[in-house]
Each structure stands twice: as structure tokens, then as C-alpha cells.
Point group: C2
């Protein structure tokens, strides 16, 4: 296959929306959007100025690639309904293995954007790493070429790497955000603004990326300061959830730096 | 008291070093550095072009403020040795209460910089929030005036607020960094670069600060996607520590969003 120009997007959620916008910005043709719910398909098709359908058997047959941007659970059902057995079919999931697409077509792959997508937040797609995998060697060049039109960072990963990458992303994004949320909640109860933490949050991210997180760890657990750790645990005892997290994360830090085994 | 111009710094670690540099940048006079270890005092005094001592009874008697930048455990010992009972004595600790200084002087306060300090990382001090507390109302204006010379963000907090602020900072900085470290470790084992997570880490911090962390939470736990959560836990079972953290943080997220009670 030479190049991928015409694309059908299957799914109209956050990922489908962002991928559609990214493709258009890169000069590619999104020719159709599919959603089980016609109104959703229509809404996204309006944004992308393309056709839409709510029937898998009415998918545009002339596209170069069909991109499934659905939740992991929904992928399998859609794959079974995919009508074009010789068309390149890809999914965008961190967790679903490549082979989950093997029933859909003889040519299949993965196009996994490593980013957190919100529906109404615009993004610089050039900075989003795309993790690729493909079933047939002769689709490899075209898929990489496509990804490089969208982004400066393209990485080939196998399914085992990609699912671990997804776990790492859960820690570095979802869990990090939950730590922010706990902090915000604690401050709110003290009638203090979350904005007070802004420079600390920015500096922590900046330092970890400029050095390594391992090298720049600070705080009571890192110094094995049990007096402060104990005091903090006592202050958190009214919230068993926060107490538990404080305890386990502190223990994990103390283990990492050799204070407990 | 009118203004604070001459300052003695007690302690030569990360915080003492950064405070000394910040004072100098703001046009204040750091007149002396104390450290228990003469060589440490001398090294910092060299950077700040001021005097130094390793004896508390040789502290310069002419300063307007004496700033204790020591670990929480060391503060108490130093306070007992502080010789000038009518001089303004402040500490920089998030956790130590204001009253811990009452044996040192009749005028005391807190000058807590809410930031993570590394010895060789330069900082924009204007962005560091300073949390203030003071024992006597007539020192209030001078302390605030001093803080505003250093920073754009000055916040009066009582000891209860400040120690909760410190706990919040542990979550938003130390624990966040440990999440980064876990992610980096997972990627290293897959021979993938931590740099792949850079856009995700930056975007997560940016979004949380532009909105609220609560509003922008994403991920399998937020969606109550137990299939993925379970798969991830299985993938982490060789590392009991990571497994435990993944489990408890996911549970905490699911509780927060009403999926479990």
C-alpha cells in the first residue's frame, strides 16, 4: 500500500473526535464517521465536514484506513461486523491486543495516541506520541508515513509493550491527577486556593522531565522522616481513603530508597 | 518594626541556600550563615558573600530577622540555643507549629516557601507562594512586606492550615513524583523511553490547573472499567508494591465518582 489518504472513523467519542481533527489538520480526508447513535455520528460529521452512518454495512467502501476509536469492550463487537476483509483496520486502544482485529480484516494494526483527551480541550497533536503496530509488513511504511504527518513522535510497540505503556500512563496521568484531586480537596477544607500549589505542580513535572523522577524525589518519606509521616497519617485519620494512600505510597517510596525491605 | 533588611540564615541545606539566593535577588542583606558544620556554613557564605559561624552564641546580633531553615527535628534544639530574646525569629517549616519558636524569642513567625527545592536547580522565586504566620501583630506588616519583595504570592495561614497545606503538597508533589517514578520504571523494563510520557505529563498538569483535577479525571477507574483495571492488576502482580498502589488508588477514584461506597 502506498499512502493512506481517505479515512473512516468508527466511534464519535473523545478519541474519535480528536483523531478526526488531527487527520484534518494534517491534510487527510476523513470521508465518513460511524456511530451506533446516528445523532452522535452526525454531530461529529458536522465538525469534520464529512458523511456519517449508524450502520456498519453502510461504511464507505473506498477508504484507505478504518480507525476504530471505541472503548475496549466495544471493539470486539464492531470487528465482527466490519465488512471489508481486505481493508486496513486499526484501533486506538492501549490495552486491546493487535490480534483482536484479526476477525475483521486480513490487514490490521494499532494507532494508539498516548495522550489524555477531553472533548473540548484543543491539543497540539504534533506533540502526541503515536504507538504503532501492524499485522502485515507491507502496510508498515504507509502507517508510519501517516503517523508522521500528525506527530513528531512515532514509536513502534508490540502489544505487550503497549499494554505496559498504558499502565505506565495510568500512573503518570490518571493517578497523578487523583493526587492533585486529593490535594485540592484538602486545601478546600482549609479554605485555601488550589492555585497555591500551581508553582509546585509545574516545578515537579518540569524537574522530573528534565532529570529523572527517581533522582529528584523529595519529601518526608524520601528522607525517611517518620515523625512527619506519622503526624501526617494522624491528620488524615478522618479520611480512611487518604490515610491508606498516604501510608502505601510513603511505604513504597521508603522501599524504593532502601529504608525498608 | 519598620522593615526587615538584614537577615541571618540558620541552616545551609537546600532551603537555606534557596532562601539566601532569593533574599539577595530581592536586594536584602544576608549578613551571616550559621551551620553546625563550619565547612557547610562557609560554603554557603561564599555563595552569598557574607559572614558565617558554627556557633549559635556567635550569631550576628544586628540582624532584623533570623531564619531557621532546618529539618523539623533540628528546629527545637536550635531554638533553645537562640540568644536574642527580642529579635524576630522565623522558621521555614510546613509542619512545625508557630509556637515551637516561643522559647527562642518573644517575637517569632513562620516564613514557609511552598516549593520543592533541589540544591542545584534555579527557581523563579517570584512564583513561589510564601505562607506567613507571626506571633505579634506589630511584626505582621514587616514580614508581609519582606515576602512581597520575594514573591507575587503571599498567604497568611495559621499553623493548622499550614500543616494541612504541607500534606496537600506531599500528595501534589512527592506522591505525584513517585507516580512518575513508577511509570518510568515500568517503561524502562519495556525498553521504552520515559520521554514518551512527556506530553501526557505536561497536559495532565496543565489541564488540572486550568480546570480542576476533579473535573478532568480520566482513565479506567474513572470510567469504572473493571475489565481493564483487572487486567492491569494482573500485569502488575509481579510487583506487589505497584499492584497495591494501583488497587488502592483505583478504588479511591471509583469511590470519589460514586461507583463504590
Amino acid at each position: 500500500m502506498d499512502t493512506i489518504q481517505k479515512i473512516v472513523i468508527i466511534g464519535s467519542g473523545h478519541v474519535g473526535t480528536h483523531m478526526g481533527l488531527a487527520f484534518r489538520l494534517a491534510g487527510l480526508d476523513v470521508v465518513q464517521v460511524y456511530s451506533r447513535t446516528a445523532a452522535h455520528a452526525q454531530a461529529l460529521a458536522g465538525k469534520l465536514e464529512c458523511g456519517y452512518t449508524d450502520r456498519m454495512d453502510a461504511l464507505n467502501p473506498d477508504a484507505d484506513m478504518y480507525l476504530i476509536a471505541l472503548t475496549d469492550d466495544a471493539i470486539e463487537d464492531m470487528v465482527a461486523l466490519f465488512p471489508y476483509k481486505k481493508k486496513l483496520l486499526v484501533h486506538t486502544s492501549g490495552t486491546t491486543p493487535l490480534d483482536a482485529l484479526s476477525n475483521g480484516s486480513s490487514r490490521y494494526g494499532v494507532f494508539y495516541p498516548l495522550q489524555t483527551f477531553s472533548k473540548d480541550v484543543s491539543l497540539d497533536y504534533q506533540k502526541v506520541p503515536f504507538c504503532l503496530e501492524v499485522s502485515r509488513d507491507d502496510d508498515r511504511a504507509a502507517l508510519e508515513h501517516l503517523a508522521r504527518k500528525l506527530s513528531n513522535t512515532v514509536q513502534w510497540t508490540n502489544s505487550a509493550q503497549r499494554r505496559m505503556l498504558h499502565v505506565a500512563a495510568v500512573f503518570a496521568c490518571n493517578f497523578v491527577n487523583h493526587m492533585y484531586a486529593v490535594a485540592a480537596d484538602i486545601l478546600k477544607k482549609q479554605e485555601l486556593s488550589f492555585d497555591l500549589l500551581r508553582p509546585l505542580i509545574e516545578e515537579t513535572a518540569r524537574k522530573a522531565l528534565e532529570n529523572t523522577p527517581e533522582a529528584i524525589q523529595t519529601g518526608p518519606a524520601r528522607r525517611n522522616n517518620l515523625k512527619v509521616t506519622k503526624k501526617h497519617l494522624e491528620m488524615l485519620k478522618e479520611n480512611p481513603d487518604y490515610h491508606k494512600m498516604y501510608n502505601f505510597i510513603s511505604e513504597s517510596i521508603r522501599k524504593k530508597y532502601g529504608f525498608i525491605h
